[in-house]
Symmetry: C2
Subunit: 521 residues, 2 copies
């Protein structure tokens, strides 16, 4: 005879059986049976966030580092709503992510109680798979299907909506996991077509994204480049990209359209490997959004949901059998001492970067010096802002630190971006995560100053300028960080930043360094 098991216990048992053993959560009353079940299924590690956007962004960061889904557990429609923006970023990253949303008990829905809303409709805007469970007996099976669904399309969000009574009633039974489907290979003939395109030339360009930016993918791409003369370019905001000395240095497509045009100018055939054809981030008056140069023919070696790294290796075997990948020599540009600016900031960070670090980059305008500085720095993994919804950097850093407790995590943040999910600092303190946040404070939405000029909206009047200004009041991030339990220091010069970074690495746990950098003129 088996002990009666609640739906919540069966569900958590199913998840841990399927390898989903981390749950980022901000629970409420409808999730209390999950909370209670945490003590019965100790294999599940639950991590509390004090705002849902931290939980969803953390699950994204966890997935980018491990390749496996974490769960998030959210409280009804409003809890999901607070997590949506970072689910949007996770969707754009192609991260496998299991989103569990507690709902009112089945019999309670008809009362339209205050927290009632259309959870499925909101979930569909970010999820590849959405289902509302109907019975306690079926809940665990639904969970097993949901975990399997996170692998769909190369990685996606699966949302399971769970009426509270299904969790609290007994009659659950853990369900067996589905085998994880492998990343689909490139389409038949794609390698042949890419090889022919490379041979035909002139001036081919390999545009890399997703797992083409793993070490394996980058080395294969580099061999192809060496042998064929093709140029390499990575997508602007990769979900994950390996970098540093010893690896081939691959530049990322610039964010600003004019710079992107320049980077792509002269391209003959454009071969896509794990990336889509490049487009501008926004539409602008008087120019199109398609960045593919006129006349360039686009060939897809591997799509975003396909195994681009293996396709590149196969292509390299075909067109570059003897070629060796280029290896970037170690070295960081010299540091100009004195007041911080985006260039010496980047060079200090690159110089002090600990080995094997994970960098969550959301520095926006203040981070423009980073790619050049980091190219020859110690080996690292870069996580970028995939979906354009700022407020992703600190939560992703949380998830990365949970995923890789033995790797130092560096979050390079902008003041404006950090404020959307500043509550992530609390979880860093609670979980004693090895995250150092370098928060670049320029007291402005500096990127919007650039965009205002670019959109042809004309010079900003005083009222418009005030809407892009964050200097009244200037936020004191050192105090805020200490308020959340994360030790903090301020740095205004390259020397102070060097010292502060060494301080942050001298002891375990989270630290924040507020780097005061004047805005780009």
């Amino acid at each position: 005879m088996t002990v009666a098991m609640t739906g919540a216990e069966a569900l958590i048992g199913t998840l841990t059986g399927a390898g989903v053993d981390v749950c980022f959560t901000n629970p409420g009353t409808s999730e209390m049976h999950f909370v209670q079940a945490m003590d019965r299924v100790p294999a599940m590690r639950a991590i509390l966030a004090v705002f849902e956007g931290v939980a969803t962004g953390a699950a994204d960061g966890y997935a980018r580092i491990t390749g496996r889904p974490a769960a998030v557990l959210l409280h009804l429609g409003p809890g999901l709503a607070n997590g949506l923006a970072n689910l949007h970023n996770a969707r754009r990253a192609g991260s496998p992510l299991l989103c569990l949303v507690g709902a009112h008990a089945t019999g309670h829905v008809r009362f339209d109680a205050p927290l009632q809303s259309d959870i499925e409709a909101a979930a569909r805007t970010v999820s590849g798979w959405v289902h509302t469970s109907g019975t306690t007996r079926g809940l665990a099976g639904d969970a097993a299907r949901a975990v399997a669904a996170t692998a769909g399309g190369g990685g996606q969000i699966a949302t399971l909506v769970i009426p509270a009574d299904l969790s609290w009633e007994t009659g659950g039974q853990p369900a067996a996991p589905y085998p994880a489907p492998p990343l689909p290979p490139a389409s038949p003939g794609a390698v042949d077509a890419a090889a022919a395109t490379l041979a035909a030339g002139p001036a081919p360009l390999l545009f890399l994204g997703r797992n083409a930016l793993t070490e394996r993918g980058l080395r294969a791409a580099s061999r192809i480049a060496v042998a064929s003369g093709a140029r390499l370019l990575a997508e602007t905001f990769p979900a994950r990209m390996e970098g540093g000395a010893g690896l081939p240095a691959v530049a990322r497509l610039p964010y600003l359209p004019e710079a992107a045009d320049q980077a792509l100018a002269g391209t003959g055939p454009l071969i896509l490997a794990g990336a889509r054809a490049p487009v501008t981030f926004f539409g602008y008056p008087g120019r199109g959004g398609d960045l593919v140069p006129d006349g360039a023919v686009v060939t897809e070696l591997a799509g975003r949901g396909q195994d681009a790294a293996s396709a590149l290796e196969e292509l390299a075997g075909r067109v570059a059998p003897g070629a060796e990948p280029q290896a970037t020599p170690p070295g960081v540009p010299d540091i100009t001492p004195g007041p911080l600016n985006p260039v010496n900031l980047a060079n200090v960070i690159a110089t002090e970067l600990p080995a094997n670090a994970i960098i969550a980059d959301e520095a926006a305008t203040s981070g423009f010096g980073l790619p050049q500085a980091l190219a020859g720095a110690r080996r690292h993994t870069l996580l970028a802002l995939t979906g354009g919804s700022i407020g992703q950097g600190l939560p992703v850093a949380v998830g990365a630190a949970v995923a890789a407790p033995d790797r130092p995590v560096l979050a390079i943040e902008a003041d404006g971006s950090s404020l959307y999910t500043i509550q992530a600092l609390w979880t860093m303190a609670r979980e004693k995560l090895n995250v150092t946040t370098v928060l670049v404070n320029n007291a402005a939405y500096a990127v919007l100053r650039i965009e205002l000029a670019r959109t042809g909206a004309g010079a900003a009047g005083p009222r418009a300028a005030r809407l892009l200004d964050l200097s009244d009041p200037v936020t004191d991030f050192t105090r805020i960080s200490e308020g959340f339990g994360v030790p903090a220091r301020r740095a205004t010069t390259a020397e102070e930043l060097t010292e502060a970074l060494r301080w942050s690495q001298s002891e375990p746990g989270p630290h924040l360094i507020e780097a005061i950098v004047p805005p780009v003129a």
Copy 2:
């Protein structure tokens, strides 16, 4: 000949012409033409929030105080997503609210650029009216219709999605406002039916919500109660309720189901005035969600979208022609000196409450002493958490302070709740708003401790308990407040709280008082 006007300029001119002259915003690139147009249409006051949930909650607070819609201007789907939870609360409050969401330029949508998502689908979960504009020429007319739509159903959210090119192109022309529709009267025969119900008895109860909780509504309800012996009860979480000495004291239905059962026990006929029949907030094992006592017949005098105050006045004229409303005498319970607890906290607040204050109450478990303490305090307006999505108190206080710059605003907040939208403090500092936040820090999700026990989930094990605990680390709200530019003090005793409240009223602008109160055992 007229000067060429952009769509954005025509739209803002249309809004100010229709009386919508406050816009809470967190803009992005697709909204830059609105930002730029702010200098051309100076009648529009734009107020910056550093997180969208602050903007939407502020617009809700503004509507609750003025009865008129403010606009919010949000950046694409993710910006809307960050504002959704407080839009949910605004929807439950019946607040008129104009939600403007910038979208990618028409020609850019097909590229599925990183920020692209289904804006309309997300908007529909909270809005009564959703439309995506198609042409620059039609944009201003769409805006005029949207403003009119905010009055629908007694107050609702109208969302207008605005492709960026419609804003930046010229050819706009401001559109004339639609006349604002009045609040619909009660249904024909409803007053007769209610009068007959009162006469038939026994033990009738008037359940009050929406504008039945205005001074007018409360006085009429009190006259009815005096003449007929009917009991009065207000909904648990009213959008706006007048209170204090000189007004009839009307208790609110308790939140916990057992206490609500008790409050409703013995009710004969139940007459609804601006409220729906009472239901529990959540479903629980072993009990139903319907709070109407067995055998009680429910009669609707006026629905939530109808003019309940006028219906009550008409009913009072019928059944209580000579009766006077009861007036609560002034007086506040004595303050027990020493360490703060929910009772002396409430009594200090009630004693120090400045005249004509607006109270945004999101104190959760720490606020249970407030209703009794405030009944005989100085006249005030209470704004409650209508939709159950915590993180509403500080933003609503921002909007209330903008709406009524001559009234002091008191936000009574819980630690857990405040953290969802703590960024509201920045806007309070920026706009120098007369908001005093009393932030009750008990270092726990105390309400969930109660709910965990109530849901029958059993005793919390150590891992479950940790998910409801906010004491590791304890958040230092005094520091966080100062970091956002709001002067702050800590109070641990009744005497210190008295002193701090006097300090907060001794100078204009925002203040925060961190009240250290141990959790309810």
